[in-house]
């Protein structure tokens, strides 16, 4: 009995399997069946399914005021923190934040460290070639906070596009990309966080700090004696969206429609007004 079983297992089953595979290869399977298979695989491997199974939505982010930062108690607060928490709540799961260095956040997404980047990421072609973006849900731009001592009167693009001008910003941000495009002749130095770039300008080591609206504005409000804004309006207009891995139509569809609904009911607009316009949250942060 065991012997026949063993014989079967060892020889007949693989042979039958091999024949079936050969048959499938030679004659092809019905296209509909193949399509169903592909759909099943795609659906099963979708980020949405994984999140439902796991019960947590893992969100890649980095500290940017006022998108995501820590309050006095050390808890994460900010616009994108609200967005991610609300999204998780609407999916019936819990949001888990994965702080990641901004210059490595797209590779970390591709490596599967988290399910989506929800962190005020502006859509850029370079990023979009590597990851997919949802519909944009907040309009932002790039702005400059300049040193009163070094950059007085530098209110044209030409004045900034000179070899002796130093611009600082955070590595991997769309502000740096914009600076490289608009001011190719200027020296652009990249740091790991906004605070350090702002300190460079306050200390007179750089002419200006380039970053996403409204951080440069906040910097000038905090340092009115040393900093000013040379341009009335953002020098580049941008749109922020969530980023997910490529080839996941289910995730894109779900997130896009979630964004649509939260735009229709005014929730996104209300949150944006709270975090970006007046700084009502100011007493929550140290310093």
């Amino acid at each position: 009995m065991t012997e026949t079983n063993g014989f079967r297992r060892r020889f007949i089953a693989p042979a039958a399997g091999g024949l079936a595979a050969l048959g499938a290869f030679a004659f092809g399977r019905p296209a509909a069946a193949q399509g169903a298979d592909a759909r099943a695989t795609l659906a099963a491997t979708s980020m949405i399914e994984e999140v439902k199974r796991r019960g947590t939505l893992r969100v890649g982010m980095s500290t940017f005021v006022p998108w995501a930062f820590r309050n006095r108690a050390g808890e994460l607060i900010g616009y994108e923190i609200d967005v991610a928490n609300r999204l998780a709540q609407d999916m019936g799961v819990r949001a888990e934040f994965v702080p990641t260095a901004w210059d490595g956040i797209v590779p970390a997404l591709l490596a599967g460290r988290f399910d989506a980047i929800i962190g005020g990421m502006s859509i850029t072609p370079a990023r979009n070639l590597n990851a997919n973006f949802t519909s944009a849900y907040s309009a932002t731009g790039v702005d400059i906070a300049a040193s009163r001592r070094l950059a007085q009167g530098m209110t044209t693009f030409d004045a900034w596009n000179r070899p002796n001008v130093t611009l600082v910003g955070r590595r991997g941000t769309s502000g740096i990309t914009a600076a490289q495009r608009l001011f190719p002749r200027a020296t652009i130095r990249q740091f790991d966080d906004d605070a350090q770039s702002i300190l460079e300008v306050v200390n007179g080591r750089a002419h200006g700090m380039i970053g996403s609206v409204p951080r440069p504005l906040f910097a000038t409000l905090d340092n009115p004696d040393t900093l000013f804004r040379p341009f009335e309006n953002p020098i580049v207009r941008q749109a922020d969206a969530m980023a997910v891995r490529k080839s996941d139509p289910d995730a894109l569809n779900f997130l896009n429609n979630w964004i649509l609904l939260r735009q229709l009911d005014g929730w996104l607009e209300e949150r944006q007004a709270y975090w970006f316009s007046a700084r009502e949250w100011r007493d929550q942060v140290p310093g």
Binding site: G104, R127, F191
Partner: protein
């Protein structure tokens, strides 16, 4: 004395086996990496790497960001190494001098530097010392590296000097040489033999430690590498290339010092 042919053959076979084992191990490492990258669906783009090293436009060679960064790293390391030797020698001599104040000063310096993180020292030099002294970021980086490695160099110099036998000092004094001349003609040349190998190691560490200046946005090799990665997302390719560039420089340095050591040994024997 001639070797019996069988022994020579055995030795050759062993060497071939060693090389084979080494190649096998390297192959295993490479395979592991490819498998890991494949599992995360990593998109290799090695063909994109060369243009970040160098480009040729109309017959003219243009250095890419990585080579430009390497030059800055080399320049910075070379200047810092010279300063390190000066600081190290001065600290060692001060430590061995009769002055108690000098001795304590050096002990405080060495312990302070060796027992705090380099990154913290860099931030202190860059954000606190540099604005007071009016130092540019490049020189702030050089100063920080030299101060850090200088503490280790001081201990290496001290060990080398103390390794010279007391009899040599006594001989120098009998000849009526001053302390300075005794150091110059008798002690330091002999100490050099002991000092050189660990000093070469220090030079290699200095080049590697120089990567830390990327956080104050000096355009060194590491900083350029990080900037390229943030533009292109080629994490694996660029970091591996950067590591290979550092490796080339440090291996060349080690080989050079090895040759120098051999010559010194010949001269001293």
């Amino acid at each position: 004395m001639a070797e019996p042919p069988a022994a020579a053959r055995g030795r050759h076979r062993r060497a071939a086996l060693d090389i084979l084992q080494f190649a096998l191990f390297l192959g295993l490492l490479a395979w592991l990496m490819v498998v890991a990258a494949g599992r995360m669906g990593y998109n290799w783009q090695w063909h994109q790497v060369p243009r970040h090293i160098y480009q040729v436009f109309e017959g003219e060679l243009i250095l890419g960001p990585l080579l430009r960064g390497l030059l800055v790293t080399l320049e910075m390391s070379a200047i810092a190494l010279v300063l390190t030797l000066v600081i190290g020698l001065a600290a060692a001599l001060l430590r061995l001098s009769g002055s108690a104040a000098g001795r304590w000063l050096v002990i405080a310096y060495v312990e302070l530097i060796r027992n705090t993180p380099l990154l913290v020292q860099l931030y202190i030099v860059y954000f606190i010392l540099a604005p007071i002294l009016g130092l540019e970021r490049f020189w702030a980086g050089v100063l920080c590296l030299a101060l850090f490695e200088g503490a280790f160099a001081a201990e290496i110099f001290r060990g080398g000097i103390q390794a010279v036998r007391l009899g040599q000092w006594e001989a120098a004094w009998t000849l009526g040489l001053s302390r300075r001349d005794a150091y110059r003609h008798i002690i330091l040349p002999q100490a050099l033999r002991v000092i050189l190998p660990p000093l070469a190691g220090l030079g290699v560490s200095l080049i590697k430690h120089s990567a830390i200046v990327s956080v104050i946005a000096v355009f060194d090799l590491t900083n350029e590498g990080r900037n390229v990665i943030s533009d292109t997302f080629m994490t694996f390719e660029i970091w591996l290339t950067v590591a290979a560039l550092y490796l080339c420089v440090t291996v060349l340095l080690s080989l050079g010092v090895g040759l120098l050591e051999k010559r010194l040994k010949g001269a001293m024997a």
